[in-house]
């Protein structure tokens, strides 16, 4: 390979999500000191010229590299875990990281089955000597806190039985609350919280249908100004759409660290569940296959691991 090709390859090996270990071994491993020096001189975003005449690694980039090298390890550890421990640790991390990761709380509370959520709560007891609801209530104030506590505490009925007239009237209640959003944020409406946090998923899907008839829109479209509620409704009623969106954002260039983690989280947590449907939804929405996108964006062992997991759905 010509030197510039190799530089480019190495550049790519160090960029994107995950690290292309093989390139590093085959290229970097065989370079002599002069070739490595050239590399350092030609990559100002990795190396800065120091006043004492040597090329010095940019500290930030080394930190960044650490995260990227760890991506594979994190994915493997998360994958091997019992799903209860996995969800409990994801909840704890989301609570620690703060408001920008609270959507993970909604995700876990609303896309898991009643027994899976229960399992996560048990594991949380063992791992952290607290209940999930205790920590969520303590760390998150106001109406958002109330919604999240309620979602995380739910043990929803999972049978198919749905009362149609109740669903209709509850759809009206929601439509009314959303229409008056300028007077009061729907998340502060007790009835909205009651319906979303206690009703069964089949019942909510029925409400979703009736809402569509009443307002002419899908309920999540009308909740653009109430992000938590939007996520809640999506996770409860259209999880595949929700997950495909999380994946798409996580695969964009230059996004936040915590958003990038969505890629690992969704693939690892859904590989045995509804990966097939998520891939279909992703292709329908974005016109490209998820596997192609991962192939193009991720590197090395991390990429191979993700692709292996994602292929499980068939």
């Amino acid at each position: 390979m010509a030197l510039t090709d190799e530089f480019q390859a190495l550049n790519k090996a160090f960029s994107g999500v995950g690290i292309d270990e093989n390139s590093l071994i085959s290229i970097l491993g065989k370079w002599h000191p002069e070739e490595r020096k050239s590399f350092r001189k030609e990559t100002p975003h990795f190396f800065k010229q120091d006043e004492r005449h040597f090329e010095r690694w940019d500290d930030q980039h080394v930190k960044h590299l650490k995260h990227e090298f760890m991506r594979f390890k994190n994915a493997v550890v998360l994958w091997t875990m019992h799903s209860w421990e996995r969800d409990a640790r994801l909840v704890k991390e989301a609570l620690k990281k703060g408001p920008q990761t609270y959507s993970v709380l909604v995700e876990i509370a609303c896309t898991r089955s009643a027994e899976e959520l229960l399992g996560a709560r048990k594991a949380y007891h063992s791992l952290f000597d607290h209940s999930i609801e205790e920590d969520v209530a303590y760390h998150i104030d106001g109406p958002e806190g109330k919604l999240l506590v309620a979602l995380v505490s739910a043990y929803r009925y999972e049978g198919p039985k749905v009362k149609d007239d109740t669903a209709k009237s509850e759809a009206k209640t929601l439509a009314h609350a959303i229409k008056n959003a300028d007077k009061r944020n729907p998340i502060e409406d007790d009835e909205v919280i009651r319906i979303l946090s206690t009703r069964s998923k089949p019942h909510l899907k029925e409400i979703y249908k009736h809402y569509q008839e009443i307002s002419g829109h899908n309920i999540d479209e009308d909740l653009d100004d109430a992000l938590r509620l939007k996520e809640t409704v999506q996770c409860l009623c259209t999880p595949h759409t929700y997950f495909s969106q999380v994946l798409e954002i996580s695969l964009r260039n230059g996004v936040d660290k915590s958003i990038k983690k969505g890629l690992t989280r969704v693939i690892v947590t859904r590989a045995d569940a509804d990966m097939k449907e998520i891939k279909e939804e992703y292709r329908n929405r974005y016109g490209v296959s998820l596997t192609e996108k991962i192939e193009a964006t991720a590197n090395g062992n991390y990429k191979d691991f993700l692709l292996t997991l994602a292929a499980r759905g068939g």
């Binding site: 229960l118 709560r121 048990k122 209940s131 309620a150 739910a154 007790d190 009651r194 946090s197």
Partner: protein, 314 residues
């Protein structure tokens, strides 16, 4: 300690046969029914139901429901159910009353262990095809709803870890909330419904040490709307269930016109748990034995049944 005197030589088939003879033909031999069922623990009663079903292809419970009547029938129906099923039925009855009997809901959610409460929620779903919280939320409003739903959906950490600093700060929060009659309901609900029982005991002790008065006495003085009354019940149930049950019994009996529902509920639900301790406490407080008080205010088969459950030999 339990008051139930369960037989040691036990044959479910023999019992099923005796029960069959006592319900066949004209009228029912209630004494025989009592002499068997009131001397069988939950596991034994379950086996008897199975044996009866196998021998006679009929549900023993349904048969008894049709043969017995009045307060005796209600009591026997509740007694013969599996304990978790029983609590589910009691909860449902309490919810469906024209004004939800919140005491029963608080009692159930605060005196059971986290695992037992979970089992009740499952039993409720099986029976009524709704989740407990869904029905409860739909039949209550305002702060009472928030408190009750939080209490039934919580899955408290059941370990012995205590955070003393937290106990201190939360004792203060509770004290301030009670003092300013403008209750900070949210914080009170958060603390009482999410913290573990050991953490709450530490908090209540701290409360008494810092403010010289127990939190439940303080609440009593503070006033008497439904929400405050419910809080009072929560605290008493968490603090010392046997004292709480003694009070329920005392009121149920002393009231002009005995409250049979409450009397039945306490005796039937505690006979296999701690009715003996409750009895001892009752005697201490009222200088009369519970069996005598019950015998004075009730009659017939209902009386005979209760008194047998209370441990009185026939």
């Amino acid at each position: 300690m339990a008051t139930l005197i369960a037989s040691e030589n036990f044959s479910p088939t023999e019992d099923a046969e005796v029960l069959r003879r006592s319900v066949e033909g004209w009228g029912t031999d209630e004494k025989a029914v009592i002499s068997i069922l009131a001397h069988r623990n939950a596991a034994q009663r379950y086996e008897i139901r199975l044996a009866y079903e196998e021998l006679y292809h009929e549900d023993l419970i349904k048969r008894l429901e049709s043969e017995l009547s009045g307060d005796f029938e209600k009591a026997m129906y509740r007694w013969i159910l599996d304990p978790t099923d029983r609590y589910a039925v009691l909860a449902h009855v309490a919810i469906k009353k024209s004004e939800t009997d919140y005491n029963v809901i608080v009692e159930i959610s605060s005196t059971l262990s986290p695992e037992e409460l979970l089992a009740v929620r499952r039993a409720y779903q099986l029976r009524y095809k709704h989740s407990l919280e869904e029905d409860l939320a739909a039949h209550t409003t305002g702060d009472i709803r928030k408190l009750l739903v939080a209490l039934v959906t919580t899955y408290r950490y059941d370990g012995s870890e205590i955070n003393a600093k937290l106990a201190n700060s939360e004792a203060d929060i509770l004290h301030d909330a009670i003092k300013d009659k403008a209750f900070n309901h949210e914080e009170v609900i958060r603390i009482l419904s999410t913290r573990s029982k050991t953490q709450l005991m530490a908090t209540f002790n701290r409360y008494r040490d810092d403010h010289g008065i127990s939190i439940s006495k303080n609440l009593l003085d503070a006033g008497a709307d439904n929400f405050q009354k419910a809080l009072h019940v929560v605290i008493r149930c968490l603090n010392d269930p046997k004292k709480y049950f003694e009070k329920v019994l005392r009121h149920a009996i002393k009231r002009t016109g005995t409250d049979e529902d409450a009397l039945t509920r306490v005796i039937v639900t505690r006979a296999e748990r701690d009715l003996k301790d409750i009895k001892e406490f009752y005697y201490k407080k009222n200088s009369v034995h519970l069996e005598h008080a019950v015998a004075k205010e009730t009659s017939g088969d209902y009386k005979a049944f209760l008194v047998t459950l209370l441990g009185q030999e026939a």
